[in-house]
């Protein structure tokens, strides 16, 4: 018996090769993950577009569900990040739904889970880090952001830099590891169950001896845990951590230093003026 644990299958290679590095490989374009990402995007885009065609003051059944979901996302963002950060709710919601659908789409067996590819979770985690940095610089200023690495004392600088790099890595690896590990575990157990069936029933000659009875039922329960439950929990954890990181970079305006607040208010006023024009 042979068990293979592989990354996403490569369907198509670009004719031109970009140089490989130790961290990044850059030569393959179309893999199973790419197809899955596309499938998730198309499905979600069609759902989002078609379900929101008839939004009325008196909601139908579908609209009630959509409103409940949207309200839940907004409430979650408000509870975790505060009322002043509600503008992040659409991104958090998108991330959450992408993650759940990306994990669940692996259950179809046609597509591979997008979140079982480190590239995807790493991309999402880097978006989080990017948002944290952008908002840090926007709210506290570039100098203050750089200076925050030397706090509380100068000796801590390397530690701070490591933690800054570690947070997206841990985000990405946590999500990837849970989904991919679940898949590996399911595969291993599936094979083990085949072996067990062989041991128990193998002595019976003919058709019955080859029946892998233990493979029925048990993997389904495991799949519910690893694909549905774990997919949901990991999506939730990923979004929650993203919210916490970004909220750290976006404190309520009252808690900002006086001079930064003045600058931000001025910027806001200018933006409003531009909009009015």
């Amino acid at each position: 018996m042979e068990i293979q644990v592989t990354g996403p299958k490569v369907f198509f290679e670009l004719p031109f090769d970009l140089p490989d590095t130790t961290i990044f490989t850059m030569k393959n374009l179309i893999t199973q993950t790419t197809i899955s990402l596309l499938a998730v995007t198309v499905i979600l885009a069609i759902l989002a577009f078609s379900l929101t065609r008839k939004i009325t003051k008196r909601p139908g059944k579908i609209q009630v569900l959509l409103e409940k979901a949207v309200t839940m996302v907004y409430n979650l963002v408000e509870d975790t990040m505060g009322k002043h950060n509600l503008r992040f709710a659409p991104y958090i919601g998108t991330l959450f739904v992408s993650s759940i659908f990306g994990s669940i789409i692996g259950m179809t067996q046609i597509f591979r889970s997008t979140t079982a590819d480190l590239s995807v979770t790493m991309a999402w985690a880097l978006v989080t880090t990017g948002l944290v940095w952008v908002n840090n610089i926007k709210n506290f200023g570039f100098k203050a952001w750089l200076k925050s690495f030397t706090e509380p004392i100068f000796v801590m600088t390397p530690m701070n830099i490591v933690s800054e790099i570690a947070s997206p890595l841990s985000l990405a690896f946590r999500h990837f590891g849970n989904v991919a590990g679940g898949g590996v575990l399911t595969t291993l157990i599936y094979s083990a169950l085949a072996l067990l069936s062989n041991v128990v029933l193998g002595w019976i000659p003919g058709f019955i001896g080859k029946l892998p009875i233990f493979q029925a039922g048990i993997p389904a329960i495991l799949s519910i845990y690893f694909d549905l439950f774990s997919g949901f929990v990991q999506a939730f954890v990923f979004c929650l951590l993203t919210m916490v990181y970004i909220a750290g970079a976006c404190p309520p305006p009252e808690e900002l230093p006086e001079d930064r607040r003045a600058i931000l208010e001025e910027r806001e006023a200018k933006k409003r003026l531009k909009k009015a024009k």
């Binding site: 919601g93 992408s98 590239s119 991309a123």
Partner: protein, 176 residues
Amino acid sequence: MGLLEATGNVIDKFESFVGVNLWTMIFAWVNLLILYLLFKKFLFVPIKNMIDSRQKEIDDMYENAENAQKNAKELQAQYEDKISKAEEESEQIVKSAVRRAQLKEEEILKEAGRQADRTLERAQEQIALEKKQAINDVKDQVAEVAIGIASAVIERDVSESEHKQLIDDFIGNMGN
């Protein structure tokens, strides 16, 4: 067969199990961006606006209802006030009317009394006058009769004017 060998064996057809491919990352970013824009435009913003506007409408409705109730209560109080005032007024009107009527009655009665008194007085005066006149007439007639009788008795023409005074005095004494 170990896991690592498994990944190593199929490196031509499969990506490594734990690895980052920049192309896939770019693809993930693009997909996330597209989904974010679509979700924002079609799902989050319209539904949030709808929820907010509905919430606002409900709040307005409740506020309006409360205001209407307050207004109604005020109006009710006003009307009750007005009604009680009107009742008071009507009572007063009735009272004053009654008083006026009583005054008028008294006046009328008094006037009637006065008139009756006057009429009586006049009647009495008339009576007295007429009585006097009648007495005078009677006196005259009696005088005439007496003179006639006397002249018949003495057969001679008694001068009427001469004796008139005499007879008048006599009758006057009788009448008294």
